[in-house]
Symmetry: C3
């Protein structure tokens, strides 16, 4: 079971830019397709003052930096050319504690604008609701529900997706780890609420110890099935265990997480994310090596154009 | 309006060494010249126990590590060969709170030594006063004044330069952000003091939100003009917004900052700094891509010798 | 005096993986041999839930991640093929405060297993006792003693090694710096205890100011000689002075540390570690440049297969 989807993180808040232009992106989509990736997920199309295109809806609500390159069009075109589906990540105001209500209001108008301009594109295949849930916080869940309902109103036949995280041992700073039983209780409730308008849930797999991952994956599979929601796994290809935030993950860890996700019966594997952390085109040479290890494991004969001899990238 | 100056940061306190030898430096100066850089600014010629040459003045005051390679000569020679001017950054004792008085005493003797040995070089074009001002702290201003006066005594006809920072939203740890009105008040006073012996002020552009940058740039231009001082902008080519301190900046941010600086009417654009963050020779591949984006924008036909095909670096 | 030994850090806790496979490792051992490295030291063969091979002894004590590639065999074979000795680093439970007793119990059984399976290999040349001492803490010293005695019981004729650190100005977070006189007192006591079963002590050289290094190196040499223990220096090839933890060290610092170690009369120089921080095969291009500087200094004519022209790596 291979990774067949990846996030695209070009409006980023913590991963440094690779400074790719259209040619570099075209090369990377080609490699993605060659290893079987059929789905790309824009992690967000706007964040604070940055967006993938010059949106009037966002500019109405707040000052925005210019977007000289229309990345929305670029990514949709490249997805189309490579027979991939693109799930469109909505706008993230940056701080949902403060901006919860505002996030909803902005996003409704923004999603209308996106729908009008981009939903007709052959690659436009649904919505990624960019708010990352973890706990059963009614206000946070409401953010997802509200944007999910709006997505269903705009495009009743297209799927919506979320990628929550576990408040586990490696929870982000400020989040208290909770036991698995509590995670189960809270997510049973969340799933019952969100099933109204969320079709796919892809938990991030990096906030628990590796040895705990199998039980969480089985749990998520079961809860999702109970709620009639598809269960994907977001097999993170960056390493959360290092002082540098973040390098490409150790291949041994990635391989382990792929295997236990398959054994847990998840429906599809995606990753955050291919272009920085496991692409032969990445600015991070360890990512190029990770790509080689991945191809060896799955017997993919991809020629790495960066290599001029064995063991060199 | 292109970037026509760059710092050189080879006595560094927070940017890892690229471990270049004379050949690598020669290659990089050649690239600099090819994109129109006419000025290099040594950010400092000594820091704590390290210096660009074996200085007797520094050794008199404190134990120093050996400098086996005379980088002062190397950089002056390379600047001369490429028809560039070099502004010489003075000694930084590392902690000016403690060492304020000492910093002055050491630097007077050190500058005498530098003057005697290097000021006759064709590329030696003035002094960079390495102390980074931000607030109207009389003691800090005095440090700049004292070294500036000494520079003028040694070389009355050569310019002196400083590169202050804004105590803005992204101020360094330990610095309290202040409102723009207060920044204006304090810098009006500072400019009136330093105009006696400072010819060029190049504010670092990275400590405020991008959307605030235009107003700060206009303000600095105006205050500098009032004081009869040249106003450059230090268009930082590293990214202050990432957990990794520091990667090359996102091209979209750099392009935006170049444009708003031009619109504010500054006299010249320089960067901190070319060799790590936007050179095709950098150890950071994202810098090589940043170079390509920059050359595309300004229609510079520079062949990147690292590239063997489109989209690869 | 060249560096003739290096750690191998493939079960790591703070250095990101390069994601090398057997071919990349083979290439790197070849380069090591070509510059005169005759000793490799496995820094640890297990850490928490990871190990270099599927050990029944470890699995008996705690759940472990699978080790699909037997790195123990790989490294021993590559060492053998390149006429190198391998010192085997034992198991590190991750937190010796909590797990002191357990660390001893696990390691005795684990060392038995290692002895049975790997000690017959031509390259197996002794043990590295992976616990890093710094202060005269009787419990910590006991950990080293206990594992050292067990090593001597298993292989009376093979050496044992430790690599302690100085609680100096750059001591790790949580460690209080102590004066050199106290370091001397405590280590005189430690040496007298450990000489029973420790043959080689290689202090890490990175926790003091560079200018203090000579006095510490002379001190360690003298104390080791008094105790009849060989004194190596662990010339760290990563930089402890940067915000990024960790980049390759500045060549000027490495050269200085090599020279002062030689002058202090240490018996051998090793480094932590070659493959990430000073190899031409490293994912870190600054390491490739460090390799070039090192080869220039020692007039080693190694062709760097990554280079296609001067100044490019």
């Amino acid at each position: 079971m291979k990774i067949t989807g990846t996030f695209i993180d070009e409006i980023t808040h913590d991963i440094p830019s690779q400074n790719w232009g259209p040619d570099e992106w075209a090369a990377d989509f080609k490699v993605m397709r060659s290893i079987g990736i059929d789905t790309v997920i824009l992690i967000r199309s706007g964040y604070r003052d940055q967006a993938v295109f010059n949106s009037w809806a966002l500019r109405k609500h707040r000052p925005m930096l210019p977007a000289r390159q229309n990345l929305a069009e670029l990514f949709l075109d490249l997805a189309g050319q490579n027979n991939m589906k693109l799930l469109w990540g909505i706008y993230d105001p940056g701080d949902w504690e403060i901006d919860g209500r505002q996030a909803l209001d902005i996003n409704r108008e923004f999603m209308n604008e996106v729908h009008e301009h981009f939903a007709g594109h052959e690659a436009f295949a649904g919505w990624y609701l960019t708010f990352e849930l973890s706990r059963h916080d009614p206000q946070h869940v409401e953010l997802v529900l509200d944007s999910g309902r709006h997505a269903k109103k705009l495009t009743p036949d297209l799927p919506t997706m979320i990628s929550p995280y576990i408040s586990g041992k490696k929870a982000p700073p400020g989040m208290k780890p909770i036991p698995r039983s509590q995670h189960e209780d809270e997510w049973r409730k969340i799933f019952q609420k969100i099933k109204e308008c969320v079709d796919i849930v892809a938990f991030q797999d990096g906030h628990v110890d590796f040895l705990e991952a199998p039980e969480y994956l089985v749990l998520h599979s079961r809860l999702a099935r109970e709620a009639g929601i598809a269960c994907w796994s977001n097999v993170e290809s960056f390493d959360r265990d290092m002082p540098i935030k973040f390098p490409p993950i150790d291949w041994r860890k990635l391989e382990y997480k792929i295997d236990v996700a398959r054994e847990a019966g998840v429906d599809k594997l995606i990753t955050f994310e291919f272009s920085h952390f496991m692409s032969p085109n990445s600015v991070l040479p360890a990512a190029r090596n990770l790509f080689n290890r991945y191809c060896e494991r799955f017997k993919l004969n991809i020629e790495d154009p960066n290599s001029n001899r064995h063991g060199q990238t």
